[in-house]
């Protein structure tokens, strides 16, 4: 049996004394695979991402990365919904301080790669929202993580920036092949980037459908993306697999 890069087995996760959000939930992700979690707002996509990322460890079950419990595995590259930068550090220090083992030259290189080379010494308050998001992305990628967790990375960004970021993600997925979980409510994001789409619904959260895309990411044209996005939407509504 092929070894999975990410094994998720959440037997129970609940908030306070309420009914469980997850109950006997299982999901496996192959090495280098890009899986999009798609579902309505509030269904539990971000919660699952937080469990995988070790931000929330208050659950019953096991999550392992490359066979190692997630908390003991090397840190993932985590892109939060907001940029979540440390306002008291400039761009370079936001990478170096948080990642610890990343030196200034590597940080500068990654900042240049997301298009912020001219603002390496600017503080977050001196950046626009889009620039801050780019810096958050640079922080996630700087340590060359084997696991990439993206929580709505395109939400509230303008279409030009979204297009540029999509291009960057595509090139990273092809070149470095990190195992990636992409949380999105937009079927089009999933259609552009994912190898597989997992549809979330219900409470406790269940997998209502899965779609695997056979057209390689790099070869997907506008028509393919529209067709795939439509398929994701239809599956979400009909629960088809």
């Amino acid at each position: 049996m092929a070894r999975h890069a990410l094994n998720i087995d959440v037997r129970e996760k609940r908030f306070g004394g309420g009914e469980p959000l997850f109950s006997n939930f299982r999901l496996c992700v192959a090495p280098g695979e890009v899986v999009a979690l798609v579902g309505p707002s509030g269904v539990g996509k971000t919660t699952l991402l937080r469990l995988i990322g070790g931000v929330d460890d208050d659950f019953v079950g096991e999550i392992s990365v490359d066979g190692v419990p997630a908390r003991q595995a090397p840190p993932p590259g985590f892109v939060f919904q907001d940029a979540r930068l440390l306002p008291w550090f400039d761009a370079v220090d936001n990478l170096c301080a948080v990642l610890g083992h990343v030196d200034e030259a590597s940080a500068l290189a990654m900042i240049g790669r997301v298009g912020l080379g001219a603002h390496a010494r600017a503080y977050p308050r001196q950046m626009s929202g889009g620039m801050q998001r780019r810096l958050g992305l640079a922080r996630a990628l700087a340590a060359n993580p084997r696991l990439l967790l993206l929580d709505e990375p395109f939400v509230s960004l303008d279409s030009v920036l979204v297009g540029e970021l999509l291009e960057l993600f595509r090139s990273i997925f092809e070149a470095e092949r990190p195992t990636t979980i992409l949380v999105s409510h937009d079927p089009e994001d999933a259609a552009r980037l994912a190898d597989r789409v997992v549809l979330f619904s219900g409470r406790p959260v269940g997998i209502s459908g899965e779609l695997s895309f056979d057209i390689p990411r790099a070869a997907r044209g506008a028509v393919d993306i529209a067709r795939l996005a439509e398929a994701v939407s239809a599956a979400g509504q009909g629960g088809a697999t």
Partner: protein
């Protein structure tokens, strides 16, 4: 592999602003004229001089007379040794009170149970009259240096504790999540996440602490000590010697302003400059 196109938008960053060189920006009201600030104290001295000339009383000497008195007391009197004693007491009291108050503030801010149990003690401490603490310390521990410094510390600790506790309570949980996600070890977390959030509160506690400690050290010295600024001012008071009182007061203000402008403000600028960037 190609990266994203480089962003080159104009941000309102001072032209000279490098990593270490962020300049303080003027507020929404525009640049404050520096000359007004420089003129402020000479104006005060001028008003004092005019008043002294008009009143022409030995109870209100002119700034010039007070200046001469300062020179005389420095050269032949006890001014330097008195200030040495007062500064040492205030310095020790400040350092000890900041250390204890910060530690207590951290614990009370983090552990709700401890805060509930000991929170009222802090309220009592905040409202305890300083003079009562000094008298109690002098009675229990006699007129010693230790009693004086202890009284200063007891007066100051509740204020530092309260300020630091508020700082700890205001920690943003999002940064903890960030640290969790990137597996930032505790020591590094302390340095890059907790301390920067605590620093504005620590500086505020230091600033209020210094101004409070100056005053209470002087009061306690009047009450019972064998030297120091407060002791000497008490002696001058007994002889209605306003020239001596004002000489000590002026030097005292110079010392306080020196600490403010040469220590506190540069520190604040160094550590909090990111808040002034736009």
């Amino acid at each position: 592999m190609a990266g994203l196109p480089q962003i080159d938008v104009t941000v309102t960053e001072p032209a000279s602003a490098g990593r270490r060189g962020m300049a303080r920006q003027s507020g929404p009201g525009g640049q404050r004229p520096l000359w007004l600030e420089l003129l402020s104290l000479p104006l005060l001295v001028l008003i004092w001089h005019v008043l002294a000339v008009v009143v022409a009383s030995r109870f209100l000497p002119t700034p010039l007379d007070v200046g001469r008195e300062i020179v005389d007391l420095t050269a032949h009197g006890p001014l330097l040794s008195d200030f040495g004693k007062t500064l040492a007491r205030a310095g020790i009291g400040f350092v000890v009170a900041m250390a204890i108050g910060s530690l207590l503030g951290l614990v009370l801010g983090r552990v709700r149970l401890v805060d509930r149990l000991f929170g009222p003690w802090i309220v009592v401490g905040l409202n305890l009259p300083a003079i009562v603490v000094a008298i109690a310390c002098y009675i229990w521990l006699h007129l010693t240096e230790f009693a004086l410094v202890l009284a200063v510390v007891i007066n100051k600790v509740p204020l530092v504790t309260t300020t630091i506790r508020e700082g700890v309570r205001s920690f943003a949980p999002e940064y903890d999540e960030l640290a969790d996600a990137f597996r930032v070890p505790f020591g590094q977390r302390l340095r890059i996440i907790y301390l920067p959030q605590l620093l504005p509160f620590a500086l505020a506690a230091a600033r209020t602490g210094i101004s409070l400690i100056w005053k209470i050290v002087l009061v306690f010295e009047v009450l019972g000590s064998d030297g120091g600024v407060g002791f000497r001012v008490g002696v001058y008071f007994q002889f209605f010697d306003m020239k001596g009182v004002l000489a000590y007061t002026v030097v005292f203000i110079v010392v306080v302003m020196t600490v403010e402008y040469l220590v506190l403000r540069p520190l604040e600028h160094r550590f909090l400059r990111w808040r002034d960037t736009h």
